[in-house]
């Protein structure tokens, strides 16, 4: 068929190409990593399952692969097979406390847990009331930094002036935003920060935020967290947050995509990440993983690492051999062999290749930890103490109250295909409803949440959509939302493009600059509105509209998070939709994972 407007071909092609180039399914937030060894056959070997934080899965997979094929992988007369799997630190912490349920969804329970930082072990032990995660030897190091586009950092005095959290708070508080330092074209100060319940950089940033608020470097107490000045300071910084999320890669990929369109400076002003991520970004590989055929592209605007003058924390990647009922003595002995292996100088040199700081002093800091990559090997000079576990938990509780409020519209697909059986006698819609209802508890009372469902021939004033619960504070309508979700039944088609556009326009009309404005769209199919002839036009117009609303210094960003549900979902289209609003797409191709995925999506708020 012919398109009515030739320009649309370019828009569609560009959107789909950008979505495809953003990475394969494995790069989707919370998606499985197919490059790992988790599906490999270990034969009769002693299997050492590892749960490792996402930023080091590529490195540990390479090391495990080498180790498994070496003569060192033997305990007694049995071979050893190390099997790393990527699990976000906070998610793994919850799973360990819960006894690692549902291995078919969460992977096998690990023998070794290597979260990004040791603080998570304290949280696990505190929550479990026993030592399930004994102290582990650090494997490699990377400090928390504030990544900032170089021109922005320079406008604040970098590299001559030390910068820190106080500067962020000042910028966040100033209604003039960047205009206050002579750059109105950059708009308001926008901060990217992950959710501290799931992500180490989010946790470390929040800890550092409280330290900065109190002027302390050590000995943070639960009393400190309640001091009004500390709460005000943290609230001020959090008010600048673009959205949260479970992994920093979402921000880095979005920044990189914005950089391609030369709009990086209006997407985010600063993002809390680990130093390694700044290196990866500046080397043209923002998520640190090069998919087959992917070529690094040096960004137009490089990032620089700000080492906060108030101090920072290190992610130390401890190797923790778990003391749980599912770990036996042979597995512990096998784990010890791998731990020794990764500490060897030749393997610590690989750590450096991946942009981390080796923990073995025999391997000195060198390229890529150099100024040319936006980082400073002589920094940080001030380190903050990891708070006691009960204080860490207090920080998470306190953050849950003072984090930026959200204004979210849930848009659920109730098309006929959602009635397909997805496991036992449950349909895809059954699983989705359970997950959606369960996710409602993640919102705080002040968050505003509404519910739409969509299909075709729904019989209301708009045949494609039912506005079941208007967006309003969830504290007063949590039960109503749950009830309405439970009432849904599979119906007809999937008018994806029209409903997405409609939801976006509706949320834009009620845009609230003090909140995270977002849509969560779940669908299991492709656009199907009985009018296939105009699909391409619709899609191109949708992308154009989403991009126009999301870019520029005065934009009113409404983030559109999409969930590709089931095997038939149009993953590439959904990724393009999310990317156009600088949000993220989540992959739940296996309906059994939908609860996990919903949790990850709601972590953005």
């Amino acid at each position: 068929m012919r398109l009515r407007r030739p320009g649309l071909v370019v828009i569609i092609a560009a959107a789909l190409l950008a979505a495809a180039c953003a990475g394969d399914d494995d790069d989707d937030a919370s998606g499985p990593d197919s490059s790992d060894l988790s599906d490999a056959d270990p034969g009769d070997c002693v299997v050492v399952d590892m749960a490792v934080s996402s930023e080091k899965i590529a490195l540990l997979t390479e090391l495990a692969d080498d180790f498994n094929s070496s003569d060192l992988a033997e305990v007694g007369d049995q071979c050893v097979f190390v099997r790393p799997r990527s699990v976000a630190s906070g998610a793994a912490a919850n799973l360990i406390v819960d006894g690692w349920p549902n291995p078919e969804v969460n992977g096998e329970p690990p023998v070794i847990w290597s979260p990004a930082a040791s603080g998570w072990a304290g949280i696990v032990n505190q929550r479990a009331g026993q030592i399930l995660a004994p102290a582990g030897t650090p494997f490699m190091l990377t400090p928390l930094v504030i990544a900032m586009p170089q021109p922005m950092a320079e406008s604040l005095g970098w590299p001559d002036e030390p910068l820190g959290f106080a500067d962020l708070a000042t910028l966040a508080e100033n209604p003039d935003g960047w205009a206050a330092v002579g750059h109105p074209e950059w708009g308001p100060f926008r901060l990217g920060k992950t959710n501290p319940n799931y992500s180490t950089s989010g946790l470390n940033f929040t800890v550092a935020e409280y330290y900065a608020a109190t002027g302390k470097r050590a000995g943070l107490t639960t009393e400190d967290l309640a001091r009004p000045a500390a709460v005000d300071f943290a609230t001020q910084i959090e008010s600048a947050v673009v959205h949260y999320g479970d992994i920093t890669m979402t921000f880095l990929n979005n920044w990189f995509a914005a950089d391609l369109r030369d709009t990086a400076l209006t997407y985010a002003s600063a993002v809390a990440v680990e130093e390694k991520s700044v290196i990866d970004y500046n080397l043209g590989n923002p998520d640190g993983v090069l998919s087959p055929g992917e070529e690094p592209r040096v960004p137009r605007v490089p990032l620089v690492a700000i080492y906060p003058e108030e101090g920072t924390l290190f992610s130390d990647s401890p190797f923790i051999v778990l003391d749980t009922e599912w770990v036996d003595a042979d597995e512990k002995a096998a784990a010890a062999l791998f731990e020794e292996y990764v500490q060897q100088p030749e393997n610590q040199a690989k750590v450096l290749e991946f942009g981390f700081r080796p923990n073995n002093p025999a391997v000195p800091l060198a390229d890529p930890i150099v100024a040319a990559n936006g980082v400073d090997p002589a920094q940080p000079t001030t380190e903050l103490e990891v708070p006691a576990p009960e204080v860490l938990i207090g920080i998470l509780d306190s953050w849950a109250e003072l984090r930026k409020d959200a204004r979210v519209l849930l848009v659920l697909d109730i098309s006929g295909s959602m009635g397909d059986l997805a496991g036992g006698d449950k349909t895809k819609l059954d699983f989705a409803k359970e997950a959606a209802v369960s996710s409602l508890d993640q919102f705080k009372d002040a968050d505003e949440v509404g519910l739409w469902v969509f299909s075709t021939d729904l019989g209301g004033p708009d045949p494609n959509v039912l506005d079941l619960v208007p967006v309003a504070p969830i504290g007063s309508q949590r039960d109503v939302l749950a009830q309405q979700i439970q009432n849904q039944r599979p119906t007809n088609g999937t008018p994806l493009y029209a409903v997405t556009e409609q939801a976006y326009e509706t949320m834009l009309e009620g845009y609230d600059p003090t909140k995270i404005n977002a849509i969560v769209l779940l669908t299991d199919g492709q656009n199907d509105d009985d009018e296939p002839s105009d699909d391409e036009d619709q899609f191109a117009e949708l992308i154009q509209s989403l991009q126009a609303g999301s870019e520029g210094s005065s934009s009113q960003p409404v983030r559109l998070f999409t969930i590709s549900y089931g095997e038939e979902a149009d993953v590439v289209t959904l990724r393009a939709i999310s990317q156009a609003t600088r949000a993220a797409t989540y992959n739940a191709s296996n309906p059994a994972t939908i609860e996990q995925v919903f949790t990850a999506v709601i972590s953005n708020f």
Binding site: A329, K332, T382
Partner: protein, 309 residues
């Protein structure tokens, strides 16, 4: 006939199973096979300090157990036995049933290391003062003429032999003498000095490492590190970027082999260990090498450390 044969087979099987049962549960005591992570290994010929792991592994002894001094002392207190212990003086005498140490095999002087960019600042702040006494006073303060905060660490004196030795050295620096005991350790002024000194660097920062190794990868966590000549030689420092100095009063680690009273220390093993230590950067024993404090004082220091932690 068939029934008798069957009965014979059953009896034979029962005897074989019974023999295995007897061997496993009576003759061998019924324990599972020991392993590195599952309690003590009673068959280990030689127990070595973690600090001496590399030397120990090179001695060709088939059954070696490497652990921190605190773990060995803890096991001895629970009634475990140790056949031979490669350790520092006076740790053998710190056991509830003291072990008997042989001759000193080799010695290494305790030292203090700093990143080179902090060396001048430390010298400027601590001119004419014992370095540990001064570093203790400065713990947690901003450096002058250097970035960040003064972060001194002696290691984990509760479990590590070198850590306790360095703690003794630091306390001697405060008192200006090695002649101190449990009475001096109760002095309020001393306690006011020692508490921030102990607490400035959390032990969690040092997991799996020594103060020197931590400082080399993370000077923001430790920038005044207790060490010894031997460790400096082992990690190749001071080289680029590391300054080292000897604290006053001088103290030396003295490596010994120890055994339970009445047991022999194999001479060939002692000779091999001494040679291995020398090859690893240790010095030959000498009369002028000041030892660590007495076992009683070391135990009091360890108790103090654990109380303050």
């Amino acid at each position: 006939m068939v029934g008798r044969r069957m009965a014979t087979v059953v009896v034979a099987i029962a005897l074989v199973v019974g023999a295995f049962f007897l061997r496993r549960n009576v003759i061998e005591g019924g324990d599972d096979e020991p392993d590195a992570t599952d309690g003590p290994d009673p068959a280990a010929e030689l127990v070595c300090l973690t600090e001496l792991a590399a030397v120990c592994r090179g001695l060709g002894v088939p059954d070696v157990r490497i652990e921190d001094a605190g773990d060995t002392l803890g096991r001895l207190a629970e009634g475990d036995s140790v056949r031979l212990w490669l350790t520092f003086e006076p740790f053998p005498a710190m056991a509830p049933q003291p072990l008997v140490a042989g001759d000193v095999l080799a010695a290494s002087e305790l030292a203090v290391a700093t990143p080179e960019e902090y060396a001048a600042a430390l010298t400027a702040r601590c001119a004419d003062r014992a370095v540990w006494d001064c570093a203790g006073d400065l713990a947690g303060e901003q450096w002058e003429d250097a970035p960040g905060v003064v972060k001194p660490s002696v290691g984990d004196a509760g479990s590590s032999a070198a850590g306790l030795a360095s703690f003794a050295s630091a306390v001697a620096g405060y008192f200006g003498t090695t002649e101190f005991g449990s009475v001096e350790l109760q002095d309020p002024s001393f306690l006011a000095w020692v508490r921030p000194f102990i607490r400035e660097v959390p032990l969690a920062t040092l997991v799996g490492g020594t103060p020197l190794s931590t400082m080399l990868v993370r000077p923001s966590a430790v920038n005044v590190a207790a060490t010894s000549d031997a460790e400096i030689a082992a990690v190749g420092a001071p080289g680029e970027g590391v300054d080292s100095r000897y604290p006053e009063p001088s103290m030396w680690l003295q490596a010994v082999l120890a055994a339970p009273a009445g047991a022999d220390i194999p001479q060939d093993l002692a000779t091999d260990a001494a040679a291995a230590l020398l090859a690893a950067g240790w010095d030959a024993p000498g009369a002028s090498q000041a030892p660590l404090p007495s076992p009683t004082t070391m135990l009091a220091l360890r108790q103090l450390w654990e109380d303050v932690q």
